[in-house]
Every structure is written in C-alpha cells, then in structure tokens.
Symmetry: C2
Subunit: 454 residues, 2 copies
C-alpha cells in the first residue's frame, strides 16, 4: 500500500480514445426528434449548428472513438488531472472509509468544461468554421469555450445571462482575457433578444433566452456554429477522459471505488467520471454510481422521463430525458451550473436502467460540506461541486456507522474562485433553502410536448 | 530528449531540507538592529513576535535546515508543484529559446505564499501559540496564513488594507472560508488604528498601518504572535523548496536554465526559485538570475542599500536592504504584492554581490505579456507574476535576435483569479503607467534613519 496523497499519470497515459457508453447499453437510447416534424433527426438537420465530426459522435455506437492528436496536445496543458486521497478529511471525519477525489479544477478555466470545449473547437476549426456562439449561465462554460477558441484561432461570442453578467464580472474578464466577446443576454443583436427587451427592457435574462440568441446567430451565418457545454451525447463522450484517468490512478493507489459520485446539472461531469465505471458494472463489477442534484432543481429525483425541448424557445431538437419541463423556473441558487430543467439523455437512460442512483441536497448543507472540505484539504469547491462533496461525506459517515472501510471516489469538478460571493452569502447567513413547489412542477409538466408513441 | 509538457516529481522527492544561502555567501549579511537602541538584535528581542524555531532560522548559517515532517505532510497537499514547458508560447514567439515555468498557483491560496505560511504556523503551534496576527495588501498572504492556521488549529486575524478589503471581497471570502477573521485596517482595535481614524475616519489604510496594527496586537497578548509573508531570511528560506524542485524537474526535462527569472516585491518568491541556482553560480555555474520589479516601485533598480525600517510606524527592526525609504508611497498599481518600499536583505545582498541582475517594467506592458501568455498556455497570471512573464518573453525575443537557443526558467508565482478586475481595467484602457517621480524618492530617502557605522 502507498502512503501517497496525490496520484499523477505520466502524460503519455492521457487516454487515446473516448469511451462511448452507448455501445454497451442493453437498450438503445431513444432518438432525438425534429422540433418541427416530430420525426427522428438526421445528421443534416444538425449540420447548420454542429460540425460533422461532432454529429457523427452524437449518434455513434462505436465503443471507442479516437481523440485527435491536436486535441490531446491541448489537453496535455493540464491533463492528466490529479487524483487525490483526502487523508485529512478522512481523519477529521474519523471514518474507516477511504475518500478519493478527481480534481478537474486544474484546467485553465477551473472546471471539467474545457475537456469538451477543446474537442468542439477542434472539429469546428477542421471544417472551416470561423466563429462559435454559445450561451453561459454562471460562466464556467463560456470561459472554457473562450479558452478553446483562443487556442484554435476561432472567434467566440458568448451570450451570458444578464443577471450573471452583472453579478460575475470576473468570469466576463476571464472570457475577455482569452479574447472572446461576452454579451449580456437578452441583447439587441437577435430577434429573440429584441422581443424580450421590447417586453421588459430590464429583463434579467435566462439560460433559455441565451440559448435562443446563440442558436439564432449560428443559424443566420454560414461561417458560424453553435457549441453546447453539457447534455448531448458527444459532450458526455468528451468527458470520459476523467473516468478513464481515474481508473488508472485508482490502480496506482491500489484501490477500487465502491461508490462513484458526481454532481449533475446537464450531467456531463458525472458522465465523464461514471460512464467508464458503468461499463465495468455492466460486466458484473460491484460499484454504485450516484448523481447528486439540488433539491431546488430535482430533475432526476422528481422529474419524469419524457421527450422535451432543451430550451424555452423550442428551437432545439426534442430529446428523451428526465425533465422538469422546459418552462420550469428553479428558484435562485448559487449552483448556477445545476439549474437546468433537463438532464443528459444518456444519464437519464442510465438511471432508468438501474446503472446509477440519484439524490438531492439543499444548498446550505452543501456549502457546509464544502467549507469542511476546504478547511482540511485546502481547495475551495465550486458551488456545483459542493453537492458531490456533501454526498461523499455522507457516504463516509454511513461507512462509519456501519463499520465498513469502503472506498469513495468523487469528482471535484471545479474550484470556487469565481464564486466566492456565494461563500460570503453563506457566512452572512443569507442563503436560504427554498421549499420545493410541487404545483410549479405540475404546471411546467403540463406543457410537455405531445410526442406520438413516446 | 523528452517531448513532455509538464514535469511532476513524485511526492517522496519533495525536498527534505530548506537551503540557506547565508551559509554560502562570500560576505556575511549585515545584522538587523534594534529600532530603539540601534544595537544588533538578539533572539530575545524577537521572541515577543516570533517563535524560537523561526528566530533560529532567521540567524542561522547552516546550509541545510530540515523541514519538519508535519510541514512536509501539509506541503504534499499541492507539492511538488509542476514545472511546465511553455511550448505553445515558444511557437507563438517563434523563438529558438526554450521557456519553462515553475507554477506555484496550484497551492490552495493560489500562490507561493503557503510555503512559508505552513512552516510559520507549525512552529507557532509547537510553541503553544494560540493566535496569529498579520497584515495583507492584495490578500495573497492573508489567505495563505488563513489556510495554514486552519490546518494547525490556530486562530488567524488578518488586518487588510481598507481599500483592498473593499475592492477585493473575494480574497476576504477566501480567508473566511478558511476560518480566519479579516478586519479592515485602520481599525478601532488598536492604538495605531484609532490614531489614524481620529485624523481621517475614511482612511484607505496602507500596508505600513496594517503592519503596525498586527504587531501591536501580537505584542499585547501573551498567546499571540505575528507572522510576516516576505522580506525576512526565514521566509526566503522556506521558499527554497521551489528552486530545489525546479532543479530536479529541469533534470527530468534534460535541460539546464541559462536564465532564471522571478518578480520581486519583498523578494521571497524570487529567492525561493533563484537561491538554489545562486549556490551553483557560486560554485562556477553559468546562470543569470533576474529579479523583476515595477517601475512604479523600483526598489532594486533605483533604491540605495541602507538600514531602514520595515514599516512606516518604525516598530520593526532596522535591516540593511535596498529601499525607497519607509515613507515612500508608490503610485497605485494592480501588482499590490510588489508595492513595498524595501527588499529582502538576502536579495539586496545578492544584488550587491553580483549574483543577480534587476530590471523594472511598466504595468501595461506586463499585462500585455500576461494576456499573450494566457492565450497560449491557458493560465491567467497574477499581476505580480506578469512581471516575470514579461521578462521571460523579452529574454526569449533576445535569443531570437541573437539566434541563441538558451533555456529560460521563470517563476509563475500565482494565478490571477482574484485579480480579474485588473484585467478588466486593462482591456478598458484604464491602466496608466505613471512616470516615476525622482523628487518623491529623494524626499523619502532624506528620512532614512541615521545608523552609526552603517
């Protein structure tokens, strides 16, 4: 047994291929449907928005998809990311459990998001695209695409939900440092934005509006594509470098996880860590995978699985997923990256197949867990990642009660340096845990699109 | 030759001892003097402020001083820190030079400062101290001591220059996350603070005032010591893990630096990287060491070497160093960590002995270099560290002109996540490069204390 704290893989062990869980699922995913016709989508339907390299991955049933060398070259700026054993936290909890975390905060933008941003920028550049548009809420995704764009010489326009644009000026500054343009949404640049501003010039904006603006501009311009930071199959695919590295590192540590944990918003960081373990589970391995969401936006724990739109504007394809309804408006929370009405279809399917569990926590208990973690391990977690920290601590305490020396692995998907206002609010006692409103969910679910045979 | 980008040492190669340059200097350092008597200080004079473990290091002439195992255990949370070859930057500059950087931003507080904060917290805890007081300007040091205090169960009170306290709320939040108390200075808690507030209730504060407050409180309370984040010999000593690791990592890379670069404020991050290389230089190795400071606070390039106080309140010992005079007030700049009137006596002495060079840059050219670096390598440098980036790029361009394939190594002492406002100002064209005022320097130097025989 090793007494090391951190486990680094040499650069030449950066994964050479992404792992595609779709190849191993006992039942296939339901196909995405055209928002107009309700018929299954073909690749040509997606071509105005995405490059063919990405579209092929979205529908692929190949188990392994090679990572192009130029993408690996950029990933090597920070990958393989460290696996860390939280020895101080274990001691503080006085638990027989071993706690490991995979730390994705070492990326330039501070989270797992660049793993897919770099791949998407590469495929777009390959196909002659000159400009990418996207939306961002808290800013993690926008700054990741800005970073990737700067490396591949692509212009990047980020439509940032106006309330975040004003509350998180540091995220905006980070995007500008990488050379991107950051525009508060709703904006006068698009028909979608103008319509909202005509009704309410002071609109705070929403992720749904920002998506509509970014998609509208990509559709209008021949040299411009759109990029999405979570939910879709190709995004989950690009994140599987996390789990593959973690497996190799756990082997270095001489351990195997009994429990694998990630927070879930759109689902991609959880997918990245857990899908390679689900492949083992499908072959008989005993490992529990747990997706953790906020009680304020309980997509997996309270939402039905149904066809729904990805945005409020109903411009995106219909995908079958756990959803709270595209019009569900979760209460304000500092885990902006987890405030999405839907869930990756692959993660939704994995839940339905019994490959994983889901649980939900209030935000204040997650901040309490994050502070306990920071005071032992030093790293201040992003508010989103604090949900995974809370679940890991709860599992470690269960092990203590049951006298079991289980091994727990969680994804620390990002650091909180750009979210310190949330910690200030927490210490000032200003964070609340709004009660979940079942009537609001019922209203939003009543608007679910009717899809024949779904 | 390797084609790797990052070089990691295994944890068991974390240095086991600190390197003390004082043991190898051809001429001894001038002793510190008592501020009241002007006589050389004895250990007892420092005992009210510092633990004996630290005082012994301050005056030691031993070449190697063992790092206590509990300190190494904490350092292993993030050390050994990575050495990175900036291959993308080299290509963008089209230079024959090789550029490496040692990255200290991986520490929990985001800079090199925890290297000494952890050691100081340990020695204080060992000697039964219950509480540490300190000052902080930009917040790097305050958050580092807060972190170290939380690990060793020490209360930490940080007096933060009021203007920074208000402009950098995220740094304050970080200190509070680590359980420290952060108080805007001048405060009503001390005689020094009350005197200033009586004159000007809206005083912005200054580092000199904050030092006086922290020192006053430590002197008043038996269970309380004071901790300093730069300048002193023991601080430079604790930082030498940086250079020792870098040497081992350059060996892994199969290279040897021709030029070693660090920014200098109090001098400790530069000392940490450069002192182990100076030891080689004293044995005949050909390596240039360059300390880089802002033109707005040109301690090494324009200040004489003389005995001076460390603070404006004249409470600290007199040390012989390059200084602009304790009353010199540098113009505002975003590199708050480099706005100090003095310089580590060891670094000052090294300059006088010809072991290093010094140069100064304007802040806008440093931000331009930092942005160029971020767009290639991903990491956004702290404003302080941007001075080292600028010098590294200039050296690489010199190599291009001269057709020389030299190897350049610089210390990227911290990331800029908590300083993004500075980047916003830079992009908005709001940063100026104030002309240096020789008359102001002359006035400040006229106040230098008269020391017999110095």
């Amino acid at each position: 047994m090793t007494d090391s704290t951190k486990f680094f893989l040499p650069e030449d062990r950066l994964p050479k291929a992404w792992y595609n869980l779709a190849a191993d699922l006992p039942e296939p995913l339901a196909p995405p449907l055209h928002p107009g016709t309700g018929q299954p989508l073909g690749p040509d339907d997606l071509a105005p928005l995405f490059p063919m390299g990405v579209i092929a991955q979205e529908v692929s049933l190949e188990r392994w998809i090679d990572i192009p060398e130029p993408v690996r070259e950029v990933l090597r700026l920070w990958r393989p990311s460290p696996l860390v054993r939280a020895r101080r936290l274990e001691k503080a909890l006085d638990t027989p459990a071993k706690i490991y975390f995979k730390y994705e905060g070492v990326s330039p933008a501070g989270s797992h998001k660049p793993n897919t941003a770099v791949a998407q920028a590469f495929y777009n550049k390959e196909e002659g695209v000159r400009r990418l548009t996207t939306e961002t809420g808290a800013g993690q995704w926008g700054s990741s695409l800005a970073f990737a764009g700067s490396l591949f010489g692509l212009e990047v326009e980020v439509y940032m939900v106006r309330v975040s644009y004003e509350q998180k000026p540091y995220r905006r500054a980070l995007m500008e440092t990488y050379g991107a343009t950051c525009i508060p949404s709703p904006s006068p640049n698009t028909a979608a934005g103008r319509a909202i501003l005509a009704e309410d010039p002071d609109s705070n904006g929403s992720l749904g509006i920002a998506i509509s603006e970014a998609v509208e501009l990509a559709l209008q311009r021949d040299d411009t594509h759109y990029a999405l930071g979570s939910v879709l199959n190709h995004v989950c695919l690009h994140q599987t470098v996390i789990g593959q590295e973690a497996m190799a590192q756990m082997e270095m540590a001489g351990d195997q996880p009994d429990v694998v944990i990630g927070c879930v918003g759109g689902g991609s960081n959880f997918a990245g860590l857990a899908f390679p373990y689900m492949a083992e589970k499908l072959k008989g391995a005993k490992v529990r995978c747990i997706g953790v969401e906020p009680t304020s936006c309980p997509t997996l724990t309270k939402g039905p699985c149904a066809y729904d739109y990805g945005d409020t504007g109903q411009l995106t394809p219909l995908v079958r997923m756990h959803t709270l309804g595209a019009h569900f408006m979760p209460p304000g929370s500092h885990a902006g990256g987890l405030r999405y009405h839907g869930m990756a279809p692959m993660v939704s399917h994995a839940l339905n197949l019994g490959l994983m569990e889901a649980r939900a926590y209030q935000q204040t208990e997650c901040f309490a867990a994050a502070v306990a973690f920071a005071r032992q391990e030093g790293i201040v977690p992003a508010p989103e990642s604090s949900h995974a920290v809370k679940a890991a601590i709860d599992e470690a305490m269960r092990c203590k009660q049951e006298g079991k020396a289980e091994t727990i692995l969680f994804n620390l998907s990002g650091h909180g340096h750009f979210d310190m206002q949330a910690y200030t609010s927490y210490f000032a006692g200003q964070l609340t845990d709004p009660a979940f409103d079942p009537a609001a969910l019922e209203r939003a679910l009543a608007d679910l699109p009717k899809v024949a045979g779904a």
